[in-house]
Symmetry: C2
Subunit: 475 residues, 2 copies
Amino acid sequence: MRAKKSEEFSEWYSEVVQEAGLAGYAPIKGFVYLLPYGYELWELIRSHLDRRFKETNHSNAFLPLLIPESLLRKEAEHFKGFTPEVFWVTMSGGDQLSERLAVRPTSETLFYSTFGKSIKSWRELPVLVNFWNSALRAEIKSTKPFIRTSEFLWQEGHTLHATKEEADEEVMRMLNIYKEVIEEKLAIPVIDGYKSELEKFVGALYTTTLEAVMPDGKILQMATSHNLGQNFTVPFEVRYLGPDGQMHYAWSTSWGVSWRLIGAVIMVHGDDRGLVLPPEVAPTQVVVIPIFYSDAERESVIEKCREIVSRLRSSGVRTHLDDRTEYTPGWKFNEWELKGVPVRVEIGPRDLSEGKVTLFRRDELKRSRFEDRALETAVKELLSEVQQNLFRRARELLNSKISEARSMEEFVRVLEEKEGFVKATYCGSNECELRIKDLTGATVRVIPFEREPALSRCIACGSEGSITAYFGRAY
Amino acid sequence: MRAKKSEEFSEWYSEVVQEAGLAGYAPIKGFVYLLPYGYELWELIRSHLDRRFKETNHSNAFLPLLIPESLLRKEAEHFKGFTPEVFWVTMSGGDQLSERLAVRPTSETLFYSTFGKSIKSWRELPVLVNFWNSALRAEIKSTKPFIRTSEFLWQEGHTLHATKEEADEEVMRMLNIYKEVIEEKLAIPVIDGYKSELEKFVGALYTTTLEAVMPDGKILQMATSHNLGQNFTVPFEVRYLGPDGQMHYAWSTSWGVSWRLIGAVIMVHGDDRGLVLPPEVAPTQVVVIPIFYSDAERESVIEKCREIVSRLRSSGVRTHLDDRTEYTPGWKFNEWELKGVPVRVEIGPRDLSEGKVTLFRRDELKRSRFEDRALETAVKELLSEVQQNLFRRARELLNSKISEARSMEEFVRVLEEKEGFVKATYCGSNECELRIKDLTGATVRVIPFEREPALSRCIACGSEGSITAYFGRAY
């Protein structure tokens, strides 16, 4: 690692991504590819989410990649929102197509014209489906792996309900699942609430969101969950026969998280030595490194390491033995620190003779020694401590990055001083939100579910303030 | 189910796919979507394969969807092979792109220009990577879900090696993994061997394949594994520093299976009542159905069913309780038979009073009764019996569909009589292979690894026959 996190945050980020073996730049502008380590991280995040989706009766399914333009146009606002970012297929083989096909920017329109069409009666509701796929939206700004790319891995959930109330419940259920996984597994605290009218999903009735602050003070949207009302079910004619014998339009939701979550993990927890992974999502939770100074010592040390690996694996810890002979222990320490492995076990001749093991924790860069026979307990406790410590540190970061402003002047000043979230009150109009954005670059990131009291009159127009929101400059 | 498998095979297939809730036609020609049941089946097949890939040290990763035309052109034959089927992205938002982008028909070219580029020395070889994604190849013929669609789910493995011998070994290792999963989990016997020059993958040194026969006598290619030689590593300049201090071009392989495997399962095992799933890949292995004639009986029957579900789940059986009240037991029997669930448990008042359970096996449509306390053992034995019986039946199908021909006349006749594989000898030239194809519609499906003795002189040109191959009409 060359760049320092505190000095050149952006270079540092890009260096971690590549040096830790997470991702690389593809030979096409705006696209990245994932190396096995990055993909394993995604697989672990996915499995945490997937389990919760299934526990709440959602099923996975598959929708095609290409969407006819006429279908995408059916919901006008939705189409307008995505049209500048759509990649269009216009040819197949040597032939011009009679209708352009959009490469999936999101699958609402396909969902309603497939799953939505088969609904007949209220007995078939709700329909609860999720799709793990990639979506494409052309990015014109410079590429930042996981954060800003023209293709991203994500999941998109789509559901149909009989009533608005059921759709409301679904929106909150999924937002809370996201919050639980992000806070408990990724160790990143978030602020939850509504998006403003200007920031909501194009075509939604309302959007709920989870927002986190990054160490550079910019805000990252972590997850969104939308109540789409009947905005899609009406144009797509998704109707059901109610218990009252009448036809009704269904209500719908959609919700998603993307590999941005990996970007957040890198930014929030990483340090000057590289990645620091929360144990719950670390592909390798423990790396075991043999240390010996002579061939005589070699055999017994390696044997002990193998025993330790097998004991840890038996107790459910994802453990890797680094027994490569072409690298020194010091070189290996660096590499596994760069890769953010939460706990390192070092075994040398002295540990062997004293019946001890040396554990190194990545988050605090500290060693401690334990009785060999207590290894499993010690490792598990340490993993849990690292997990909690990362969350505690991230919460401190979040708290240190929340300010309040009672006037535009104060807003500009505190944003300048420490970026992050600025809590401020405005009248709730699009005009004032836009004016704040023009003057400061900050937008409404989230309006807390629990309405907070006004801090002042509207900082933009001076009329009575009705909404106290968290503003910030977003990624 | 309306169509009969033996009478209208193609209509029967299409009906099973839709009525069993596997897939549906998307609102764009040539594309299908997967319903949860179909996707769950794919998830199970995927997990069987994925485990074996990981056991043999392969890692999953992610490559972008779009490929610049210039990159696809780098290996000329490869490009020529795919160019009639490529979907081209030519616009992004409202702008014409300066270079066309191919929607991934396969990822060789991207793999070499990303993973291939980072190789420096022999110490980094082999590189063993797999990608679970979808690929797009425009189909002009009519759509057949899982078998012929313009987009398909698959996995593509890509590997780099120091020597041809290591690449050869990898090709066979992966073909054998496919064979094991297809025979042991999908219960479909295959014939393995080489593809002919005309039928090999465009750009490959040689292609190995697994081929199966369907009940209509057509041949389905189940899996392929290619040694790509240095055909890609030379144009893409994938070189490494050898232990000899010299630079060498790497050797590479690729291998893949697609959701065709689902199509094969439907065709080979299904019957007039619908799908018949091998227990190893059945999303639901056992469905439990309560039977009662009065409200008085209802409670104790349901309670018993719940107990059975929980006992079966505890012993690792994927079990579903169908306690819907709006349908009769008979209606449920039909539905779960249509969905191909291997074993059904029926619990009625008489079973309860006698301490018995009634089991119904889907493959043979037969009931038998067991002591309640022996339930777990009985179910597991029955599942294993169903699995073996399906394989045995499929092997009989295969054996009944292999003929031999010693002249073109005999070839035409036996192919006419019973389709399937026709074993015949030819001289091995492209000309004679094409002549056989023109005259019969059959192509070389597979040339067995163990060379078989000549049955005759070349059936096309009469010269000395050197290759005895399995011919057939392919899907």
